[in-house]
C-alpha cells in the first residue's frame, strides 16, 4: 500500500495528470478474429436458427411440415374421434359394436343412428336413453347412459355425432352434423330437464 498515507493535505494545485493516449496503434487482429467467429456464428444460426421463421420454436428444425388447413368436416370427425374415445367407447366400444352380453347396444350399423337426419342420435347424446330398446333385432334394457348436455358443447356433440354417423370403419356413411343442428335440438328439448328419452318417446322423431 501507499507509503504517503500520513502526508498532510497537499496544496490544492498539486500536479494531477489525467491519463493520456499514446500515439499510433491500431490492430487488425480483432477484425480477423471477428470474421473467423462470425463464420462459425453463421453456421450455428443456419443449424439452429429455424430459418428465422416465427413459427419454428424447436432448434434444429429448419422448416415445419406444411399444415394445410383441413376442411371443417375432417376437423369435426377427428375431434369427434377423441371425444368418442373419452366419453363413449367405455360402453359402446372402440369398434362401435357395443356388447350384447353386457347390455350395451351397438352404434355401427344401428338403425337408430343411420337415419337421414341426425335428430334421434343428437337427442340421445344430449339427454340419454333408458328402458327397453331393440337394436339390430337384439333387445337391450340399460339405464346407465350418461346425459352429455351439460358436459359437451354444441360443437363437441356435433363432432361426436359426425364421427358416429360417418365412421367408414364401422360401415356408417352419413354426413356432417353441424353445431347449429345440435343447438336447435338442444333448445327444443330444453323443457325435458334431466328426463331421459325412452324408445317409445323417441319413436315420433324422424
Amino acid at each position: 500500500m501507499s507509503k504517503n498515507k500520513k502526508q498532510p493535505a497537499p496544496a490544492p494545485e498539486r500536479a494531477e495528470t489525467e491519463p493520456t493516449i499514446a500515439a499510433g496503434g491500431g490492430s487488425a487482429w480483432p477484425f480477423v478474429l471477428l470474421g473467423v467467429i462470425l463464420f462459425g456464428c453463421f453456421l450455428h444460426v443456419e443449424n439452429t436458427g429455424g430459418a428465422f421463421r416465427a413459427d419454428v420454436y424447436q432448434a434444429g428444425m429448419k422448416t415445419p411440415p406444411p399444415q394445410a388447413d383441413e376442411p371443417p368436416e375432417v376437423k369435426a370427425f377427428k375431434r369427434g374421434a377423441q371425444l368418442y374415445a373419452a366419453g363413449c367407447a367405455g360402453c359402446h366400444q372402440a369398434t362401435g359394436l357395443g356388447s350384447a352380453p353386457l347390455n350395451f347396444p351397438p352404434l355401427a350399423g344401428s338403425e337408430w343412428v343411420l337415419r337421414e337426419k341426425p335428430d334421434r342420435l343428437v337427442r340421445i347424446i344430449l339427454n340419454a336413453i333408458e328402458g327397453p330398446i331393440t337394436v339390430k333385432q337384439v333387445a337391450y334394457d340399460n339405464n346407465a347412459m350418461l346425459q352429455f348436455k351439460d358436459i359437451y358443447s354444441d360443437e363437441d356433440i356435433a363432432a361426436i355425432a359426425t364421427f358416429v354417423r360417418g365412421n367408414a370403419e364401422w360401415g356408417n356413411s352419413f354426413g356432417f352434423v353441424t353445431p347449429q343442428q345440435v343447438k336447435v335440438i338442444r333448445d327444443a328439448s330444453a323443457s325435458m330437464g334431466s328426463q331421459k328419452w325412452r324408445a317409445e318417446t323417441l319413436a315420433p322423431i324422424p
Binding site: M1, S2, A22, P30, L34, T48
Partner: protein, 471 residues
Amino acid sequence: MTTAQPSSQTACAAAPSVAEVEASCRLPVLFLAFSGAAWLCAGAVLALLASVQLYQPAFMEGCAWVTYGRLRPAAVNALTYGFALQTAFALALWLIARLGRVELVAPLGLTIAAKFWNIAVTVGVFGILAGDATGFDLLEFPLYAALPLFASYACIAAWALVTLHRRTERELYVSLWFVLAALLWFPWILSTAQGLLLGWQVPGVVQAIVAGWFGNNLLQIVLTSFTLAVLFYFVPKAVKRPLANPGLVSAGFWLLLLIGGWCGLSQLAAVPAWIPSVSGAANVLVIVPVLALLVSLWQTADGKIAESWKSNATFRFLLVAAILLLGVTLCTAVFGGHYTQFTFFATARTDIVLLGVFGLAALGALHYIVPRLTTGEDELPSEGLSDLAFWAALFGVLAVGIGFSLAGFKQAAVGASAESKFLEGAVTGVASNLKLVTVGYGAMAVAALAFLVNFGLAARRCCLDCCGGAR
C-alpha cells in the same frame, strides 16, 4: 482520438483548477457514493437472507414479506438500482468533471435528484417486499417506484450531459466515450422496456424477450461500459503511462455497442428458435471487443502490474474486475446455451457482473475518489479497512460466483440426464454450493461496511479539518 493532450495548452483559459472541479463534485459525488455503498450493504444482506431459504426452506417462514419470491428480487433490484447504477452516476459525474476539466452544473440539483433516486429505490424495494413486484427480471420495481426513478435519472443525466457540453477540455478521453454511451443507452432501454411491459403490456412471449433484452443490455452495455470507463481512467493513471493502442480501443468500443445488445437471450424458452440462436452467436462474438479492450489495457500496464498491485489500493480492485470481465464473457460464451438453461448459471452471471465486474471496479474507483473529495489525501484514513474491503469483496464475489456457477452446472447435469433424480441432484444436492453463496453475500456486506466506515472516518477528519475548529 489519436493524441489527446489534456494539458493546460489545449484547455481554454477559463478552465477551472482541479480544486475548483473537486469542490463542485464534493456534495453530489460523495452523496451518491455513500448511498451506493449503503445499498450494497443492504442488498447483500437481503440476498444473504434469500439465499439461506434455498437450502433451509423453513427459514423465516410464515411472513409473506420475507419469502424467497420477494426477498430475492428485492435484493437484486437494491443491488442494481441502489448500488450499481447509483455508484455509476457518482463515477460518471466525477469522470466528466475531471476529464472535461469543468465544474459540475447544479451540484445541489444533482444532490436533490440523487436523493429522489434513493427515495424511489427505497419505495421500490419495499414495494417488492409488499408483493407489488412486476415479475420481470431486473425490472421488478412497481410502476409507482419506476416512474420517479426514471424522472430522477433524467435530471441526473441531463445535468451530467450539460456539464459534458460545457467542458473546457474539448478532446473526449476514452473513459468519456463509455460514460456517454452508458448515460444515453440506459434511458433508451429503461423507457422501452417499461413502456412495453408496464404501459403497452405486450403479449406473453414478447414480454420474456423484452425483459431479457433489458436485463442483458443493463449488464452487458450499461454496467460494463461504466466499468470500462473506470478501467480506462485509472489503469493508465496507476501505471503512469499513456493508454497504449488507441485504435484497438475504438474498435472495441464500437463492436461492444454493436454486439453487446444482442447477447443474453440464449436461454429463453418458448420463443422462436432464431432468437436464442442469434443471441448465442452474439455471446461468442462479444468476446472480440472485450478482448480488444482488455488487450489495450494489458499493453498499457504490462510490466508494472505487480508493482501497481502493491502500491495502489485502487489498482487491485481494477485488476480483479478486468479478469472477472474476461472470465464471465468466456464462461457465458461457452456454457451460456441450452445446457445450463433453467439453472443457477444465469444467476451467477448477473451477480458476477453486478458485484464482481462493476462492483469491484466501482469500489476501487471510490477508494481513489472519496479520499480526494474528503481529506484531500491519496488514500482513505484506514489502510486496514481498505485491505479488508478488498479481500472481503474479492472473497465475496468469488464465493457467490463460484457457488452459483457450480450449482448451475450440477443442475444442468441433472437436467441433461433422464436417469438422475431431480430432487436429490438439483435441489438438495446443490445445498453445499448455495451455502458458499450465503457466505459470499456476507463477505460482500462486510466489504461494503468496511468501506462505509472508512468513508465515515475520512468525512469526520474532513469535517474536523474544515469546520471543526470554527464550531
